[in-house]
């Protein structure tokens, strides 16, 4: 490892800093008038584009020409990987362009009139992996503003088939399937807290427009630069009603009603019927059975998500609308929805319908200020109604705060880079001289937050917890402006406040709403009751209490009429994996497994502590799923498991998995389970911060080591997995992931071939142990680090972590969406120039017990469960239910490609997977993790000599292995 290279890069980085800072300082005073202008010129200059609000501000004087510019979609140039082609016909449209999930497509077009345009797009959500379609939009080869980096195009979903009930009469949640159709939309961003479509500034002349694929394929039929259509006001719409001669419906009984759960289409697979028992006035209410009687809830809270229903009107004419809904999720706030009738917004007033917080069910009747209900025109027969989540009046506040968060985080990082995470409180850093620009940012953000606070007050009429985060930040900024010397002292407080603001943003932008039904009534008709009376509720609750003694809620019942001609399988799964998982597996099995195989599946959720006892008492299940890495061999050594090599068709099943996933399940020539999940380490990096530093993701360890001083000189951190597998509450049975990565890359094994001794005490392995320990001792990398927090603030722009960290990050840190990526681990360059990036992996598996009653049926289930079809369906189901945070890390290679990973991430994962190794399990293997853990702790915490200490611990391991082998009669 060359010290000189390191030093060279280091000087370079410092130079970069020197150059960057004054530029920022100069850029600011110029735009004193536009308050939102500053701050973007520095810090974010490298990777981030400017904010949309700033962009709009710059062109606020520009015209909005009425001419429209059509882009000829079939005349395109595409990059090699784009896989773009022209399809002659697709679902009724001719000559459309289909773009793949990778690469980019570019069009040329000529603008006549200079000005701001919206983009109108007609697209078709081509079947892919079921994820949201995402594209980056570039104008003339570059991002016009940051929000154009990820534009989302929603898919269309529906419930599959007819309503289904189990033998007890409980309604099943139906599967969600895609129902693709041509969608016309005006391009807008779903994460800029704004309902208005995006505007793009174009000069007269020739331009290029580029769509870069982030994820999923997309078909495009039309692409037009034009002005977005404006909905008429109610007065205009009413005048139109009269001009058309529409009459109010007089028949008092006429009613066009639809139940919320009976939706026609929706934008997300998470929008399915829900069971709500909170009021006996719910339509379809049962005390004993579970009925799906509502829709929405917390699944329906993100901007842009919509649900569409079909209502049937006996009579054409003007109706008033009543929506029975409940918003008891966000106290002191409201959820906003817009309404579309037969494909268009009838009038602007229903674009921002407010559903205020109330613990009871409410009946919302859209009406004007005087309380006069708005009238809607329905055709005779079928009409469609669509409700969509809007940001509504929150928009301005959210945008102000969101910008503040970005600006202030930039400042926080800058200060940290100067002072370190723990500034010397006695030292004067002379921030006024070194970072003068931050004070302008403080002043502007003070003003912005002040404005945001006032707006908030105006909505809710009270100062509550909603504005606490804002207030605190304002006080802090005021202090900072008064006396710059306290900034270092209050730095961590400042950062905490930024996180609090970001967290507030996240919750404030959510707009959940539960809908029971929508009904169109004659204007003169009486409204139905919104909620049951107190007594009705009480009677229902008392009944429910007594019924709870006789109703079995735990058994996941069977669908009626399924015959189990080929036997039954009893399946156990750990109670902590949750009821959602169990229901979903049951659901899938009933739909796809039982019919084809004639085997019925009985699922029980149990605490896995019971498993051992149950098995020993011969009361155990036939099959258990989601079993940890070491469980199968532990049971197998005690002859409790069925050896799968007994089944003839095993060879057909094995190619589904990477060989590495089978290693922990293998003992000698026998195989004791099939893998279902497999996880391993990956590198996560912040594109923006790394670009600002002028460094790239390390490919080899040499590069990695060179990066450490650069990071540290900028007071940034590198996040490694903790060397202690046993931290609070944990238990060490596995070998540390980073350690086995280093071992495998050096071509070393952990155990001998037959597992009779541990090889970590050999000379080469000792050197690897030393190398691992030195990361923490010599290079002083953090031993424990909260990856999510450090990564989102950019304090740790490079992190090595399990790849499932992706899920956590995409859910809990939406503000850095598109600004981070994943890459394979650093490796060791081989003589032929290739890089060896090996790493160990962890699996969960499905196992069959030796005393299973029906082994063939159980084997059928195991084969089905690990199949591509079942794994993909399950992965999608669980993600639809619980969101991206539950993305399923399947071990099935084919299925992995079908899950909703963005293209770039998927490529990185595949690249790493080629190098993944399996960590073998041996008798007494649990002793390895434990002893290595103790060894590294002695070195890292107590400063003991790594070379000396490791040998003692390996001796200990070998003693235990020998003991256990004797116990199991393996010698």
């Amino acid at each position: 490892m060359g010290k000189r290279t390191g030093a060279g890069i280091l000087t370079l980085a410092m130079l970069c800093n020197l150059i960057l800072l004054p530029v920022g300082a100069l850029a600011e005073p110029v735009t004193a008038e536009q308050t939102v202008q500053t701050g973007t010129a520095d810090g974010e200059s490298g990777y981030r584009a400017i904010d949309y609000d700033v962009y709009l501000g710059e062109y606020s004087a520009a015209a909005r020409p009425d001419t429209s510019v059509s882009v000829a979609v079939t005349e395109f140039t595409a990059s090699e990987t784009a896989g773009a082609y022209v399809e002659a016909t697709l679902d009724g449209r001719e000559n459309v362009l289909v773009t793949g999930n990778d690469g980019e497509v570019t069009w040329r077009f000529t603008v006549q009139e200079e000005g701001l345009y919206n983009v109108n797009l007609v697209y078709y959500p081509v079947e892919g992996k079921g994820a949201t379609i995402e594209r980056s939009l570039l104008l003339d080869g570059k991002l016009p503003f940051e929000q154009a980096r990820t534009l989302s195009f929603l898919r269309v979903w529906k419930d599959e088939g007819e309503k289904r009930y189990d033998s007890a009469g409980n309604e099943f949640r139906r599967n969600q399937v895609e129902a693709p159709e041509w969608v016309e939309t005006t391009v807008s961003s779903l994460n800029n807290y704004m309902d208005e479509p995006l505007s793009f500034y174009l000069t007269a002349g020739v331009h290029t427009l580029t769509f870069q694929s982030v994820s999923e394929p997309l078909a495009i039929a039309e692409l037009t630069f034009c002005q977005a259509r404006r909905a008429p006001t109610y007065a205009e719409a009413y005048a139109a009603y009269q001009a058309e001669g529409y009459k109010q419906v007089g028949t008092a009984t006429a009613q066009a009603k639809v139940q919320g759960e009976d939706s026609l289409k929706k934008s997300s697979a998470s929008l399915y019927g829900l069971s709500d028992r909170s009021s006996p006035a719910n339509e379809t209410y049962s005390l004993t059975k579970s009925v799906l009687n509502t829709i929405g809830g917390t699944g329906w809270q993100y901007q842009g998500d919509w649900i569409e229903w079909e209502v049937y009107a006996e009579e054409a004419g003007l109706y008033k609308l009543a929506i029975r809904a409940k918003q008891d999720y966000k106290s002191g706030s409201f959820s906003t929805r817009s309404l579309e009738l037969n494909g268009s917004i009838p009038f602007a007033e229903v674009q921002g319908m407010r559903f205020s917080y109330n613990r009871n069910w409410q009946l919302l009747v859209p009406a004007d200020e005087k309380g006069e209900p708005y009238l809607f025109y329905l055709n005779e027969g079928k009409n469609t109604v669509r409700m969509q989540v809007m940001v509504g009046e929150h928009s301005e506040v959210l945008r102000l705060v969101s910008r503040s968060v970005t600006e202030l985080s930039g400042v926080a990082t800058k200060i940290t880079m100067l002072t370190g995470s723990f500034p010397d409180t006695l030292r004067d850093y002379e921030l006024k001289e070194t970072l003068p620009e931050i004070f302008t940012v403080f002043e502007e953000q003070m003003a912005q937050l002040d404005k945001a606070g006032e707006l908030l007050m105006a909505y809710s009429g009270e100062k509550g917890e909603t504005s606490a985060a804002l207030d605190e930040m304002q006080i802090l900024l005021e202090l900072f402006l008064e006396d710059a010397r306290i900034i270092p002292k209050e730095l961590s407080n400042f950062k905490d406040n930024i996180s609090a603001l970001a967290a507030w943003l996240l919750t404030a932008s959510e707009q959940p709403l539960l809908v029971d039904y929508l009904t169109f009534l004659p204007p003169e008709a009486e409204l139905p009751r919104a909620d049951a009376t107190f007594w009705e509720k009480m009677v229902a609750e008392v009944k429910a209490f007594f019924l709870s003694f006789v109703t079995d809620y735990n058994n996941i019942a069977n669908v009626d009429g399924e015959t189990a001609k080929n036997g039954e399988v009893e399946l156990w799964l750990a109670g902590n994996s949750g009821r959602d998982q169990a229901t979903s597996i049951k659901n899938l099995a009933d739909n796809y497994f039982t019919p084809g195989h004639g085997v019925r599946l009985n699922i029980r959720l149990v605490d896995m502590d019971v498993l051992l006892r149950a098995v020993s008492a011969d009361q155990g299940p036939d099959v258990a799923i989601f079993q940890g890495q070491s469980t199968p061999i532990n049971y197998a050594l005690r002859s409790a498991l069925q050896d799968l090599t007994a089944f003839d068709d095993l060879a057909e099943v094995l190619p589904r998995f990477d060989d590495s996933a089978l290693v922990p399940l293998t003992l000698g020539d026998s195989l004791y389970g099939l893998p279902e999940q497999q996880t391993f380490l990956m590198q996560f990096y912040r594109k923006d911060v790394m670009a600002d530093l002028g460094v790239s993701v390390p490919e080899t360890w040499t590069e990695f080591y060179a990066l450490i001083p650069i990071m540290q000189n900028n007071n940034l951190r590198i996040g490694l997995p903790t060397p202690f597998s046993v931290s609070s509450g944990g238990s060490a049975t596995q070998l540390n992931g980073l350690y086995n990565t280093l071992l495998y890359q050096n071509d070393l094994d952990i155990f001998t071939e037959n597992g009779d001794s541990c090889l970590l005490g050999q000379l080469d392995a000792i050197e690897v142990f030393v190398q691992w320990a030195e990361l923490y001792t010599k290079y002083k990398l953090d031993k424990t680090i909260n990856i999510t927090d450090y990564f989102r603030t950019g304090e740790a722009p490079l992190v090595i972590a399990e790849y499932t960290t992706y899920n956590t990050l995409s859910v809990s840190a939406p503000e850095i969406k598109g600004l981070w990526g994943m890459a394979p681990l650093p490796g060791i360059r081989q003589e032929d120039g290739s890089i060896r990036r090996d790493t160990g992996s962890a699996i969960t598996s499905v196992i069959m017990f030796a005393n299973a009653e029906d082994k063939d049926a159980s084997w059928e289930f195991m084969k089905w469960w690990t199949s591509t079809e079942a794994q993909t369906l399950y992965g999608r189901e669980i993600e639809a239910m619980q969101g991206v945070s539950a993305r399923y890390p399947t071990a099935n290679l084919e299925s992995m490609q079908q899950l909703a990973w963005p293209t770039e991430i998927s490529k990185a994962l595949n690249a790493q997977w080629e190098y993944v190794q399996g960590v073998p399990e041996v008798a007494g293997g649990y002793y390895v993790g434990r002893n290595i853990d103790n060894a590294i702790k002695s070195v890292v915490n107590e400063g003991k000599n790594a070379r000396e200490i490791i040998l003692d611990y390996v001796d200990d391991i070998n003693k235990e292995i020998a003991n256990k082998r004797k116990e199991f009669g393996m010698e």
């Binding site: 409180t425 532990n634 931290s727 609070s728 238990s731 953090d782 031993k783 424990t784 702790k937 915490n941």
Partner: protein, 307 residues
């Protein structure tokens, strides 16, 4: 004066005794049955299993005293666990006991309304189950743990201390946490004992020449509340040996170089991870006898106080 009934009763012994008080025996039978099946029987079964090799999934194999031989002569970790347990028990047992007593004594001196409140405050850590996990946050190993963050701000340390994984800190920390939680049922028993003593005794004592509060304590309070003290002691002794969840959950299982390894932790290591129930039973049997011995020792001690 003897009645006629007394003599034959002594002679006929057990059966007659049963006959005489049969009603009481019937009433106590349901409890005794459950007590026997779920408490007495398992103790004997454990004793038997401790002479075997038993992995639950396979049948036990008789090995005689092999487990005990291993335990005493060949298990270094056990030796360490015994040492740790002694240290842990010494601090949390007697010290927790004395602290409980002093606290309840002190509380007794304050006005009535405040008394209830203070009792509640002291008692609350032990009823709230897993509340000790806040210590995990306070002594978290990263730079944002409260303790680390405060010490780093004060420039006492420059690198975060890995509190619960650093051998030097494990024992002191789990003792502190355990002490914090030790105001449990025993403490309540003492509070009850103290508040039930009639003020007349103190008045009488004052007339008879008690000169200060300590004399009051030794000659009146302690003897008067002996049964309560006994209850508290029994509870304390079993808890000081049986408490391992706190240590286990905070320091990990097993802790760094077994620095926080207690006999109970050793036992669960052999039951849960290594699945050697025979060996684990041997440990349990040993612990059982140690506890019985300590209980009887304490009873003798207590009888001497104030006698």
């Amino acid at each position: 004066m003897r009645t006629k009934d007394d003599l034959p009763l002594r002679r006929r012994g057990f059966v007659a005794a049963l006959k005489k008080d049969w009603g009481s025996y019937v009433l106590v039978a349901p409890f005794m049955l459950i007590f026997f099946v779920f408490t007495v029987l398992p103790v004997f079964v454990t004793l038997i299993i401790s002479f075997t090799k038993y992995s639950v999934l396979e049948d036990p194999v008789f090995v005689g005293l092999e487990n005990y031989r291993q335990l005493f002569l060949n298990d270094e970790v056990f030796a360490k666990a015994v040492k740790n347990t002694l240290v842990f028990a010494l601090f949390t047992g007697p010290m927790g006991y004395v602290l409980s007593f002093l606290a309840s004594w002190a509380i007794n001196e304050v006005p009535k309304g405040v008394r209830g409140f203070l009792t509640f405050i002291f008692y609350i850590p032990s009823i709230s189950g897993t509340v000790y996990t806040i210590w995990g946050i306070i002594f978290s190993g990263d730079i944002y743990g409260y303790a680390n963050s405060a010490l780093m701000k004060l420039r006492i340390i420059t690198e975060p201390i890995q509190w619960f994984t650093d051998e030097n800190w494990i024992m002191p920390l789990i003792i502190i946490v355990q002490l914090w939680m030790s105001f449990g049922t025993g403490f309540l028993a003492m509070r009850a004992g103290q508040s039930s003593i009639d003020m007349q005794y103190y008045e009488a004592g004052a007339i008879d020449g008690v000169r200060n509060r300590f004399q009051e304590l030794f000659y009146i309070t302690i003897p008067m509340m002996a049964p309560h003290l006994m209850t508290a002691a029994v509870l304390q002794i079993s808890s000081m040996f049986a408490n391992s969840t706190v240590a286990q959950n905070l320091t990990g299982f097993p802790s760094t170089n077994y620095a926080g390894h207690l006999i109970m932790t050793h036992l669960s290591d052999y039951t849960a991870i290594r699945v050697e129930r025979g060996y684990a039973s041997a440990i349990a049997v040993l612990l059982f006898f140690v506890m019985i011995g300590l209980n009887s020792l304490f009873m003798k001690l207590l009888r001497k106080v104030g006698a």
